[in-house]
C-alpha cells in the first residue's frame, strides 16, 4: 500500500465516503415515501467499486447491477444527477426515465445499472472487444453479484472472454445473499472464484472490506488485461448493510450486519490503516466527511426541487430516428 500516494488515498476515501453517505441518505429519504420504486443500496460494499474503479480511466467501461449506485459514483457519474434520477426528475442522469435501477452515463464509461440479473457480463465482453479493436489499452469491467454468478449469461460471458482473450475483468461481489437466498446454498462450489479455472482464467478471492486488498487484486487484473493478457475473475467477499431492497424485513439474516459494521467496515478500516501509518491524518479525513455531507445535502435538496419530466417526454428517446 505504500505505493499509493496521498492524493490517491484521499480520492479513494472520498469515493467510498461519498457512496456511503449517498446510500445512507437514500435509505433515510426512502423511508419518508418520497422516493418511488425499487431501491437497492450498496452501503457496506464501497471498497469493491472503489478499489476497482480507482484503476480505470476514460478508455474503460463498466457494467453494473440493480445495486448500482456505488459503481456509478466510483466511475464518476455526477452525484447530483444520480440523486435527481432516483427521485424521477427531469434533471436526472437519465432524465427521469431510468430510475435507480438504470442510472447510466456513457460519457463516463458507465453502461448502466441493470434490472436484469446477469445482464452486464455479456455487454462487457462487447465493450472489451471494442477496446481491443481500438487498441488503446482500454478494459471492460463487469460487476455482478453472487446470485448473478449462477446466471447462464454470466457463465457464457466468462467463457467467451477467455476464448476471445478479451481485456475484461469480472468482479463477482459476493455479499452472501441473492435476495433472501444464501450464496453458500446457491453457489454449488466453495467460491465463485473457483469457477475461473473452468473458463481458463485466473480466479482471485479478496476481502471486500479491505480497500487495499481489492485495489491490489484489481490493479493486477486490469493491468494484465490492458497488456493483452486476457480476463480475470475476482471474487470480492463482503456484506450489504441494508436489505435486498428498501423495505426488505431481512428475517433470513442473523447478526452479520452489526458484526460487519462494527468490526469489518471498509471506511473504518481504511481510516485506521492510513492514520496508523501516518499516510493521512484524521483531520484530512474529517474534512472529506464534511465536504461529502454537504454534497449529498445539496444533491437531495436540488433533486427535491427539480422539475419532473414533461408530459411530452413520454414517447421520446425510443429511437434515434424513426
Amino acid at each position: 500500500m505504500s505505493e499509493i500516494d496521498e492524493i490517491t488515498l484521499l480520492d479513494a476515501y472520498r469515493m467510498m465516503r461519498t457512496i456511503r453517505a449517498f446510500e445512507e441518505r437514500v435509505h433515510e429519504e426512502f423511508a419518508t415515501g418520497e422516493i418511488p420504486g425499487f431501491v437497492h443500496l450498496y452501503a457496506g460494499e464501497e471498497a469493491s467499486a472503489t478499489g476497482v474503479c480507482m484503476h480505470l480511466d476514460a478508455r474503460d467501461t463498466i457494467a453494473s447491477t440493480h445495486r448500482g449506485h456505488g459503481h456509478c459514483i466510483a466511475k464518476g457519474v455526477d452525484v447530483k444527477a444520480m440523486m435527481a434520477e432516483i427521485y424521477g426528475r427531469g434533471t436526472g442522469s437519465c432524465r427521469g426515465k431510468g430510475g435507480s435501477m438504470h442510472i447510466a452515463d456513457l460519457t463516463k464509461g458507465m453502461l448502466g445499472a441493470n434490472g436484469i440479473v446477469g445482464g452486464g457480463p455479456p455487454l462487457i465482453c462487447g465493450t472489451a472487444l471494442a477496446a481491443k479493436h481500438e487498441g488503446a489499452g482500454g478494459v471492460g469491467v463487469a460487476f455482478f453479484g453472487d446470485g448473478a454468478s449462477n446466471q447462464g449469461t454470466t457463465l457464457e460471458s466468462l467463457n467467451l472472454a477467455s476464448v476471445w482473450n478479451l481485456p475484461a475483468v469480472f468482479v463477482a461481489e459476493n455479499n452472501g445473499y441473492a435476495e433472501a437466498t444464501s450464496s453458500s446454498w446457491s453457489v454449488a462450489c466453495d467460491n465463485i472464484a473457483d469457477r475461473a479455472a473452468a473458463f481458463g482464467m485466473p480466479g482471485v478471492i479478496v476481502d471486500g472490506f479491505d480497500f487495499f486488498a481489492v485495489h491490489e487484486a484489481a490493479g493486477e487484473a486490469i493491468s494484465r488485461a490492458r497488456r493483452g493478457g486476457g480476463p480475470t475473475l475476482i471474487e470480492v467477499k463482503l456484506t450489504r448493510y441494508f436489505g435486498h431492497f428498501e423495505g426488505d424485513q431481512q428475517t433470513y439474516r442473523a447478526g452479520e450486519v452489526a458484526h460487519a459494521r462494527e468490526n469489518l467496515d471498509c471506511l473504518l478500516r481504511f481510516r485506521t490503516r492510513v492514520t496508523e501509518r501516518d499516510l493521512l491524518t484524521d483531520k484530512q479525513l474529517d474534512a472529506v466527511d464534511v465536504e461529502v455531507d454537504a454534497l449529498i445535502d445539496a444533491a437531495v435538496a436540488e433533486a427535491k426541487r427539480a422539475p419532473r419530466p414533461a408530459p411530452g417526454d413520454l414517447a421520446t428517446d425510443v429511437y434515434v430516428t424513426y
Binding site: 420504486g37 427521469g96 435501477m101 433472501a180 453457489v187
Partner: protein
C-alpha cells in the same frame, strides 16, 4: 356474505388446494420460500411479493427455491412436466422472459406438435407483469402478447381474485403449457372468492357489465379500469358492455363477436404497447368477422410505443386509465360518417 380475499391470497389458495389434491404439483422459483442456506427464517419471503408464502412449510419438499438461473429452472419445470409432474414455476417478472425464452417457446410450446401429438407438457409459468409500481423499463412490461403469438402456449390474464383462483386451478390441471400472468398492481385487490376449489375454463370470457351501446374488451388490470369508465359513462347515458376475455390464448372470439354484432361499436383496452398486441388482434378479428355490424371505427386504448418510464409523472401518463377509456368510448358512440 361471501368470503373476500386478495388476488395474492387467491393464487396462494389455488396453489395450496392443488398441491393438496395432487402430489405431482410442485412449486419452484427464486425465493418462493426464501432463506435457503441462511442463518435466519426459512420461508422468509414466500416469493418477492409474498404470493407463495406458507406453502414451504405446508408442503415439505415441494416448494423449491432456485438459483438465479431462469433458463435452467424454467427448463427443468418443463422437463419435469413431460415426465408427469405438474410444476408451477415462477418467472418473477415477465420482463425476465428474455433470459429463458428458448425453453418456453422452442421447447415447451412445440413438444406436442413436433412430437406428433405424443407429448404433454402440463407446466404452469407464473409471472408478474404490468406498470404502476415505478419499477421502470425492465420490471413493468406487459409482454403477454409475445406469449400469445406462440402456438402451443396458453396465456392467462386474471383480472380479479375470483378469476385468479379459478384460472390458476385450471392452469395446473390443464395438459398444455400455460403462462399465468399476474398483474403486480392487483395483488392487494380484494374480492369474493369461494373457499372450495373450482376451475374456470380457458377461452370463456366473462361479461363483467352488460350494455347495448359500445363493446369494451379489456385485458387483465384494464378490466377494472374499463368498469370504472363504464360506470362514469352510464351517467352520461352511454351503456358499455365490458368483456374480460380472461385468456388471450385461447381467445373467446364468440363472445366478442356476439357483443359487437349487437352494439356495432368496439373499444379495446390493452396495457401492452400498441404494435401487434391484444388490441390489434381483437380489432383485426372484428374487422374480418363482423365488419358489417360496425357502425363506427374501432378504437384502441393502449400504452404508447415506448418502454415504461420510471418517473411517476411519466408512468401515470403511460398506463391507460378510465378517462382515456371513457374518451375513446365517447368518440365511437358519437361517431358520425
Amino acid at each position: 356474505m361471501a368470503r373476500t380475499i386478495s388476488y395474492r391470497e387467491a393464487i396462494n389458495e389455488a396453489l395450496a388446494q392443488e398441491m393438496e389434491r395432487d402430489p405431482r404439483v410442485i412449486v419452484m422459483g427464486e425465493d418462493n420460500a426464501g432463506g435457503a442456506g441462511s442463518p435466519g427464517e426459512d420461508d422468509a419471503w414466500g416469493g418477492v411479493l409474498g404470493v407463495t408464502k406458507g406453502l414451504y412449510h405446508r408442503f415439505p419438499g415441494r416448494v423449491l427455491d432456485t438459483p438465479i438461473s431462469e433458463s435452467a429452472f424454467i427448463g427443468a419445470a418443463i422437463g419435469a412436466a413431460t415426465r408427469g409432474m405438474r410444476p408451477v414455476a415462477e418467472l418473477m417478472f415477465i420482463d425476465f422472459m428474455g433470459v429463458c425464452f428458448d425453453q418456453i417457446f422452442n421447447q415447451a410450446a412445440k413438444f406436442r406438435y413436433m412430437f406428433g401429438g405424443r407429448a404433454i407438457t402440463p407446466v404452469t409459468v407464473r409471472t408478474m407483469y404490468g406498470a404502476g409500481l415505478r419499477a421502470a423499463a425492465q420490471h413493468s412490461q406487459s409482454l403477454y402478447p409475445i406469449f400469445t403469438h406462440i402456438p402451443g402456449l396458453k396465456v392467462v390474464l386474471p383480472s380479479s381474485p375470483y378469476e385468479a383462483k379459478g384460472l390458476m386451478i385450471q392452469s395446473i390441471r390443464d395438459d398444455d403449457p400455460v403462462i399465468f400472468c399476474e398483474h403486480k398492481m392487483l395483488y392487494d385487490t380484494v374480492g369474493e372468492v369461494p373457499e372450495e376449489s373450482y376451475a374456470i375454463p380457458f377461452g370463456e370470457a366473462g361479461i363483467v357489465r352488460e350494455g347495448g351501446d359500445v363493446t369494451v374488451v379489456a385485458f387483465g388490470r384494464m378490466v377494472g379500469m374499463a368498469e370504472q369508465a363504464a360506470g362514469q359513462l352510464a351517467g352520461d347515458g352511454i351503456e358499455c358492455e365490458v368483456i374480460d376475455p380472461r385468456t388471450t390464448s385461447p381467445l373467446d372470439t364468440e363472445t366478442i363477436l356476439e357483443s359487437v354484432e349487437s352494439t356495432g361499436r368496439l373499444v379495446v383496452v390493452d396495457e401492452a404497447t400498441p404494435r401487434c398486441n391484444m388490441a390489434t388482434d381483437v380489432c383485426a378479428l372484428v374487422a374480418q368477422e363482423a365488419f358489417g355490424a360496425l357502425r363506427a371505427p374501432v378504437q384502441m386504448v393502449t400504452a404508447p410505443h415506448a418502454p415504461v418510464p420510471f418517473s411517476d409523472a411519466l408512468e401515470d401518463l403511460y398506463i391507460p386509465d378510465p378517462q382515456r377509456i371513457a374518451n375513446a368510448v365517447k368518440s365511437v358512440a358519437g361517431w358520425k360518417r
